[in-house]
Symmetry: C2
Subunit: 424 residues, 2 copies
Amino acid sequence: MADYHQMWKDLGMDVDNHDVLCNVLPGAIGDVFLSQENRPEKMDYFDFVLAEVHGVRPAELVDFREKGGKVFGTFCAYVPDEVIFAAGGIATGLCAGSQFWVPGGEKYLPANTCPLIKAMLGARFDRTCPFYRLADVYIGETTCDGKKKAYEILGTDVPMHVMDLPQMKRDKDVKKWAEEIRELKALVEKETGNEVTPENLAENIKKINAKRSALKRLYDLRKEKNIPISGTDTLLISQIAYYDDPERFTQMVNTLCDELDQRVKDGVSVFPAGTKRILVTGTPMAIPNWKMHNLIETSGAAVVCEETCTGTRYFENNVDESGKTVDEMIDKIAERYMGINCACFTPNTGRFDDVVRLAKEYDVDGVIDVTLKFCQTYDIEGATLEKRLQEENIPVLRIETDYTDADAQQLKTRIEAFCEVIGE
Amino acid sequence: MADYHQMWKDLGMDVDNHDVLCNVLPGAIGDVFLSQENRPEKMDYFDFVLAEVHGVRPAELVDFREKGGKVFGTFCAYVPDEVIFAAGGIATGLCAGSQFWVPGGEKYLPANTCPLIKAMLGARFDRTCPFYRLADVYIGETTCDGKKKAYEILGTDVPMHVMDLPQMKRDKDVKKWAEEIRELKALVEKETGNEVTPENLAENIKKINAKRSALKRLYDLRKEKNIPISGTDTLLISQIAYYDDPERFTQMVNTLCDELDQRVKDGVSVFPAGTKRILVTGTPMAIPNWKMHNLIETSGAAVVCEETCTGTRYFENNVDESGKTVDEMIDKIAERYMGINCACFTPNTGRFDDVVRLAKEYDVDGVIDVTLKFCQTYDIEGATLEKRLQEENIPVLRIETDYTDADAQQLKTRIEAFCEVIGE
């Protein structure tokens, strides 16, 4: 691994504290990823990105910024990268999935806040994540009370632009979201000094559509009876999707899919025949949160689909490419993003329909609904989802957890018991 | 007290369980209200309303509905009663402030939900509150994640209309709120069969403005050096404001204020000279939640102002009466309600300004910021409010609590310690 200490120092990071995180990463990668059997060879790219997660891509962003480029940090699948890339900016994810950052966040937020939000603030204020140092502007959204109010605190330390996501999905709400996207466009134009044109926007709609299509291709391969890739590996890819250069990422996912196509032809599976197939739904799993997938897949089951923001919500449905003017394109972008079914909406029955549909498409034996502690929207909605799945005779296990390992053994016992009774 | 058991039975209530609540009420009223010294005589009306809180007003609503009237249940200071009354409907508050209803709500909601929201669902599903039985339609709003998602569950049992409150306060958001009020107008017109006209809307804008003005008059009297009424009594009045007939309520508050005017002239106070003056800010205190006021005022301090939804947020700023058409009037109504500074907005610096302004206007010695457990918006914002108050040299005590008495003694100790050091 290359030495990025000087870069981290130049970024104003707390390098000593950050080393603590760096030192545990190789072990975690070994335990969670490298210990898996018969992994696709083309995972090597994603393994490399992960091994140097705070190095390679940040170095590219440093380089980009040195040339005058602007980086926009995002926290949510609703923020349309298309507009940012069209103006010559780079969008990068800022969600935070490690317990390492949680105590830092608790200095600013009540303990009763979800770990993802606490980790966000910890990563920023503890200066232990290069991405948080590299984003010139943070783009927030009003998806939940915790994030909405936490952005106010982030805004004391970094330029913060918040998009007001409507809480319903009526026609006028889609129009309202289009207005918010127009405001985002104005912001990125101002920050980058570049105009968003019909040409560059059309090009970037295509680019991000291609990225989503590659992920769709990858996920479709998991529908096979012989599952050619683990859920743990796929989750990593979904997580990297938020950070990586979109064109390179698309290419790498498609290259991996070529290998997986061959596996399907050869009847190769990474799981023994008869392994129980699980759909995971619920709250996002930000990098490096692989806790649930690791627990499930070391309990003798396979995760074949994630109905999460680090899963189908991120890539399902492309932007309609028929728009001619920037305004038309933004309307189409708004329509696509408002099609995401997050628990922040009321009602959010579309998500229940999605989970039922995906459960059938991926031929799952059961659904595990994972909610991060203190995430009220998913937690409350979970009871209704459970009822709906019971009506459809789809077994469901509800889990509330955080980023610590304190509950790991107990969860493993529950998952094993669940997997034993389903799909019989 | 009259016997309302037949009415409660007719309303489909669980009368036996409800009796448990009725049986503790007289003791609570005695302990919290009647034990106070030198209360204004004209509190007798509010004492009467309280003593028969599930009888007198519900009986009026029963009568109103028998004549074909429609009752609209509301949960929030943002829902404009003006529109409901204009169409000949009656608006009634449905917030719930007793631990009695919490276990019932926990059957439907995660334990990590604020007690107010849990009590809402308990009151409905346990059938132990007549107001929840008498509302033909519930009007919700997207003010917080907990309520927003809980309304989905209420909606399985009762007609539910949710208004999408914008999360920011730009000009376009005020316009968006006006649109939501137009949808509310269409709903109440459909339900009542009555049209909202410039005449009846103007009349009801005046009526509700008069109610707010009466409350303003009452609160202004608390600015006096000799405080003519306790915070506990005033809180009760603010709570009853959500339930009572607006014209009668206005008249009764004004009658009380006449008595308080005389007290001011006579230099009469309900507190000994030198009693520390406290401003309470934070989450709403739904009836019968008098916990904090009772603790503060039995700790030797006086609550002189509430910057809460059961306080200044409810009555400050009247609707501009210059609108001529229904559309103009609705725009003015939207402007007035969007002036309320709830923690659901981002940013919500207006609230900090309000607290500082009110602290000066009411000449307080300190601020107690009270947040209901698991209320993320107020809890997260509380840290920023605290900083702002420290900058202004206004002492502040932050308290997180629920509806139980478990923490009462500990809170009393903290409040006494706080009151000892402030205003020296």
